[in-house]
């Protein structure tokens, strides 16, 4: 299931503003890659370029190459919808569909994409909720609105929704920043279990979190305010946090700026 992502010389723009410049990296399958860096350095933007969610914003565009194994995601004949079906995403704020029940939320990606029998759906929903570690908490109230859950549960519901369509890669944009420590812990446990099956990329502001959950860490920074963000370095997480190659990384990690 899990696939490797290769990015080469990627620039992303919002209108005429260049948000990130010249990012080249390889994201390993069945591993967690964390993106860290100060606010506005383009790490979320970069994450969104990986499943073509960036271009949803009016005026936004991308130059460069992103390859998932052998496929060029920005190739001329590639349907962005199919890219997003292959590369799922979890957002910063939990965003369950307010008009749908817990069950319908998890089944949304399947229902909106094709025909599934009720029993197929039941199976996939249960499996996804178990995968997101939420099944035991909600199995008796699958018909209730998803918006009625707590923040942490909602976020796990969103993860269940994302894995229900069986993506090959899961992108997470600060999935714990709106959650309390206990919910955060639950999500982090979940991430370490999910990485057995998926390629996971997580953006985080929390460096302890990056150190805890990730195998590789990429540090992004921008030269100055208004300049595009870029990749400073990427390496094994243990190396980034103990013996980074660049001075800027060390300064950021030790809290000297940002």
């Amino acid at each position: 299931m899990a696939k490797q992502i290769e990015v080469s010389d990627l620039d992303a723009y919002y209108g005429s503003h260049k948000a990130i410049a010249g990012v080249t990296m390889t994201i390993e399958p069945r591993a967690v890659t964390a993106f860290i860096g100060p606010s506005g350095c383009g790490k979320s933007t970069f994450l969104r370029t990986l499943n073509r969610m960036h271009e949803v914003i009016p005026g936004a565009r991308v130059e460069g190459k992103v390859r998932l194994e052998d496929e060029d995601l920005y190739g001329p004949n590639v349907d962005p919808v199919s890219v997003r079906r292959t590369i799922g995403m979890v957002f910063q704020r939990p965003n369950p569909f307010p008009t749908m029940s817990i069950f319908d939320n998890v089944a949304a990606g399947l229902r909106l994409n094709g025909r599934f029998s009720r029993s197929e759906l039941n199976g996939i929903v249960e499996e996804s909720l178990k995968g997101a570690n939420l099944w035991n908490e909600v199995k008796d109230r699958l018909g209730k609105p998803g918006a009625g859950l707590s923040g942490g549960q909602q976020q796990r519901l969103c993860i269940a929704r994302a894995i229900a369509v069986r993506p090959q890669v899961l992108l997470m944009d600060e999935p714990c920043s709106a959650l309390d420590p206990i919910s955060t812990l639950a999500i982090e446990d979940l991430i370490s279990r999910l990485k057995l099956d998926y390629t996971i990329v997580i953006v985080t502001h929390n460096m302890q979190q990056a150190a805890r959950v990730s195998d590789k860490t990429a540090f992004f920074n921008l030269a100055a305010q208004g300049q595009p963000g870029m990749l400073v370095e990427m390496d094994e997480t243990s190396k980034i946090f103990t013996n980074p190659a660049k001075k800027a990384t060390e300064d950021y990690i030790t809290g000297r700026f940002g």
Binding site: V56, R84, N95, S101, R111, K144, P145, A147
Partner: protein, 295 residues
């Protein structure tokens, strides 16, 4: 000059200002509500005199100028048909326009032009829309006066109201929901149909009802397009029809007390129909709301 710090009681000046503004707000509320209530009161008081079964089931056919009796059945049928037809034209068009403006327009040139003309249409006096249909549909195309011609005129008035209210409701749908749907690999059109529209459904229904209420009481455009008749005509596509506003206008212009009473009863019927439609809309939104289904 000393700067006072610490916790202090509310100063006299702020107390006075608070009182004054409070009085002003209540006064404004009263000024707005009193005419409304008095209109409602008058209509109910005068309308109940003739609001009976005969009134609701009979037309004005063969009712002489001085006769009592008679009813507004033909007008009720006409109004329901005309408003329904107008809604069938205006709601899909208005909704699609709103979807274009919010989901596809991106503030581009075309969407700004559409927006501008919707604003212009909001300001079109109702007589003008009636005149337009009279000139174009009846005089140029040679169609007859009919309920459908009236519905055309009403739909012109309805459309901008539907567009504006639906547009606002669609804009209230958080972008995060659209992104969540895209991220699941759902195409844009399905996202709009399955996620955006259901989320905005309650608000859109309310907006449509406001538009219906607005056109249900229009008289001038009907006068020019539907004409007036005393007989029952259930076919909205051929021949003159009646409408409740026309009925009220027609009866109120007659010199006898019985006619005046019928006019009041007609006005009461119109208000009740609009209220009933509103109630139905509320029920639909309540029935569709997730809060209810969840419990």
């Amino acid at each position: 000059m000393t700067v006072q710090t610490g916790i202090q009681p509310i100063s006299a000046g702020r107390r006075v200002k608070d009182r004054a503004v409070q009085v002003l707000v209540y006064l404004a509320f009263a000024v707005a509500v009193i005419p409304l209530l008095s209109v409602l009161w008058l209509v109910v008081k005068n309308g109940l005199k003739r609001f009976d079964v005969e009134f609701l089931t009979h037309s004005m056919r063969n009712i002489g100028a001085r006769d009592a009796g008679g009813g507004a059945y033909h007008a009720i049928v006409g109004t329901l048909e005309q408003v329904l037809l107008a809604s069938l034209i205006a709601v899909p068009l208005g909704l699609l326009t709103a979807i274009y403006l919010v989901e596809y327009g991106n503030g581009g040139r075309l969407s700004r032009i559409i927006s501008f003309f919707v604003d212009v249409m909001t300001g079109v006096p109702s007589v003008v829309s009636g005149l337009f249909v009279l000139a174009f549909w009846v005089l140029v195309l040679g169609m007859s006066f009919s309920g459908f011609a009236g519905a055309l005129a009403l739909s012109i008035l309805m459309m901008p109201v539907v567009v504006r209210s639906a547009e606002e409701m669609l804009r209230l749908v958080p972008n995060e929901l659209r992104e969540a749907s895209y991220a699941l690999g759902v195409p844009k059109w399905r996202t709009i149909v399955k996620v955006v529209l259901p989320t905005a459904f309650t608000g859109i229904v309310t907006g449509v009802m406001l538009a219906v209420a607005r056109v249900a009481g229009e008289t001038a455009p009907l006068l020019l397009t539907v004409f007036i008749t005393d007989s029952i005509n259930t076919d909205p596509f051929h021949g003159p029809q009646m409408g409740l506003p026309l009925y009220v206008f027609d009866q109120a212009g007659r010199p006898t007390d019985t006619a005046i009473d019928r006019a009041w009863a007609g006005a009461l019927t119109l208000i009740l129909i609009v209220m009933l439609l509103n109630l139905v809309a509320r029920l639909i939104s309540w029935w569709r709301s997730p809060a209810k289904r969840g419990s």
